[in-house]
C-alpha cells in the first residue's frame, strides 16, 4: 500500500520530484479515508494533525458566523491538497471543511511528519517549500476573488 500511495504522491505537483525514500516515508504516514456527502472533515479550532490528498469528490472550505448562513469560501476537488495548518503553529484548523459529495482521500499523519521534520531539517525545508506553493496559489486566487472583477464599478 505504501507503494500505491507513493505513486499517488509522486504524480502530484506538490510532491513531484521528491526523492523516492522521502516519498515512501511520507506515504508511510498515510492511510485511505472516506467521507460521506455532508460529513464534516474538520472544524475551526480543532487540533490540526493531518492533511489530505483528495482523490475524488468535492470538499467545501467554509466559515460559520455566529448568525446567518455558512459562507462557502472555496471548493477543492480531486488532486488538490486540503490542509496546511498542520505545518504551522498553533496547529489548529482556521476554517471548516465539509464533504459536499462523497469524498475519497488519503490522509497523512501531520504530527508524525512534523516530528520527523524536527529531526531532519532538510526534509522539513523541502516540505515547507512545497506546501508554501499550495498556500501562495490559494492566496493569489483568493485575492482575485476578493477583487470582484465582474462587478459593476462605483
Amino acid at each position: 500500500m505504501i507503494k500505491d500511495v507513493s505513486a499517488l504522491l509522486a504524480a502530484h505537483p506538490v510532491f513531484a520530484g521528491m526523492a523516492s525514500d522521502r516519498l515512501d516515508f511520507v506515504a508511510g504516514c498515510g492511510w485511505n479515508v472516506q467521507f460521506l456527502a455532508g460529513e464534516a472533515i474538520f472544524r475551526f479550532g480543532e487540533h490540526a494533525d493531518r492533511f489530505f490528498m483528495l482523490r475524488s469528490g468535492t470538499v467545501s472550505i467554509e466559515i460559520r458566523p455566529p448568525t446567518g448562513p455558512t459562507h462557502r469560501i472555496e471548493t477543492l476537488g480531486a488532486g488538490e491538497v486540503l490542509g496546511w495548518s498542520w505545518l504551522y503553529p498553533p496547529y489548529t484548523w482556521q476554517f471548516d471543511a465539509r464533504a459536499m459529495t462523497d469524498v475519497r482521500a488519503t490522509a497523512f499523519d501531520g504530527t508524525c511528519l512534523r516530528d520527523k521534520c524536527e529531526q531532519d531539517p532538510s526534509l522539513g525545508y523541502e516540505l515547507m517549500k512545497r506546501f508554501a506553493r499550495v498556500v501562495t496559489a490559494r492566496l493569489q486566487a483568493t485575492r482575485l476573488q476578493l477583487l470582484d472583477v465582474y462587478g459593476t464599478p462605483g
Binding site: P69, R72, E74, T75, G79, Q140, A141, V149, Y150
Partner: protein, 278 residues
C-alpha cells in the same frame, strides 16, 4: 459608414442587468450605397449598435456566426446607450454597423485541444467560437469550457450550459466567486479551473475573455501549465467609437483594438498589458 436598420425579433433576460437580443436586418427598406454591408461575422467580431438618438456602442456578436438570418447580441446595461438597447422590445429597430475586428482563431486551432476560459460577460463573445467548435467537432481535440461568474444568479446562458454539460465530447467546468446557499458547484476564482483542464499544453489553443484582470491571470495560469503565449488568445476592450481605426480612441500601443483586435494573441499584448496606463 451608415448604420443599417435591424429589427428586434426576440428579447431574453439573462440576468439582472444583461439581455440577449435576436436581430434581423430590415430588408424592405432601400439600402444606401454607404450602408454597412450585412456581412457574415466571424466568432469574436463585434458590431456597433445604435440606439436611436442615444448613441452607438461596440457589442460582440454572441450568437451563431453561421446563422445569416439572425444576429444575436448580449448586452450588459452599464451606461445610457446599453441601457437603451436593453430596453428594446421585439418589433423595435436599432442601427447596426459592422462586423468589425479580428476573430477567434478557430481555423488555427483545428487538430488541437482547445481551452475556452470565460469570466462573467466574457462568455458572450466566446459563445460563437464554441458554436463553431461544436459544429465542426471532429476537427478538434479535447475541448473544455471553463466559466467563472460572480454569483450563481449572474451566470449567462444557464440552459445552454446544462445542455453543454451533458455532452460527452465537451468538458464544462463552472465556478463562482461567491456562493449562495443553493449552489452545489465549485467556488473560487476562474483561474482555479485552469489546473483541471485536460489538454496537451504544448500544442493546445486557448481563447480567453472577461475583465482584463481576469484575462491576465488566466493567461498566466495557462502559461504556467506549459502553453505557448502565441497560442493563448484574449479579447481586449478599449474605447471604441468608429470601429474603423479612424477615430484614434481605441489605440493600445501601436494597435487599434477595433481593427487589429479585439482578439489578440497574448504574446503580442503581454508587455502592453503589464505597462500601467498604456
Amino acid at each position: 459608414m451608415l448604420p443599417r436598420p435591424y429589427r428586434v425579433l426576440a428579447r431574453r433576460v439573462d440576468t439582472r442587468d444583461t439581455v440577449t437580443l435576436e436581430l434581423a436586418p430590415v430588408r424592405d427598406r432601400q439600402a444606401h450605397r454607404l450602408a454597412a454591408p450585412h456581412g457574415r461575422s466571424r466568432p469574436g467580431q463585434f458590431n456597433m449598435l445604435y440606439a436611436f438618438g442615444v448613441g452607438e456602442i461596440p457589442i460582440s456578436v454572441s450568437g451563431d456566426a453561421a446563422d445569416r438570418g439572425r444576429l444575436v447580441h448580449t448586452i450588459r446595461s452599464v451606461g445610457a446607450v446599453s441601457e437603451a438597447l436593453c430596453r428594446l422590445r421585439p418589433g423595435d429597430e436599432l442601427g447596426v454597423r459592422g462586423p468589425f475586428g479580428t476573430a477567434w482563431p478557430v481555423a488555427e486551432a483545428e487538430g488541437q485541444d482547445v481551452v475556452i476560459v470565460a469570466g462573467g460577460i466574457g462568455l458572450a463573445p466566446l459563445r460563437p467560437a464554441l458554436y463553431h467548435l461544436l459544429a465542426q467537432r471532429e476537427r478538434y481535440g479535447h475541448v473544455s469550457l471553463l466559466y467563472g461568474a460572480r454569483r450563481p444568479e449572474e451566470m449567462l446562458y444557464v440552459d445552454e450550459l446544462k445542455r453543454w454539460r451533458s455532452r460527452l465530447d465537451l468538458d464544462v467546468l463552472v465556478t463562482v466567486d461567491k456562493a449562495t446557499e443553493n449552489w452545489r458547484g465549485a467556488v473560487g476564482f476562474v483561474t482555479t479551473l485552469v489546473r483541471r483542464a485536460e489538454m496537451a499544453a504544448g500544442s493546445a489553443v486557448a481563447m480567453v475573455c472577461g475583465p482584463e484582470l481576469m484575462m491576465r491571470y488566466a493567461a498566466a495560469e495557462l502559461l504556467g501549465r506549459g502553453m505557448a503565449a502565441e497560442r493563448v488568445h484574449v479579447s481586449l476592450e478599449r474605447n471604441m467609437k468608429c470601429g474603423l481605426g479612424l477615430c484614434g480612441h481605441c489605440q493600445l500601443g501601436p494597435s487599434f483594438v477595433c481593427r487589429d483586435g479585439p482578439v489578440f494573441s497574448f504574446a503580442s499584448v503581454r508587455d502592453l498589458l503589464q505597462t500601467p496606463e498604456v
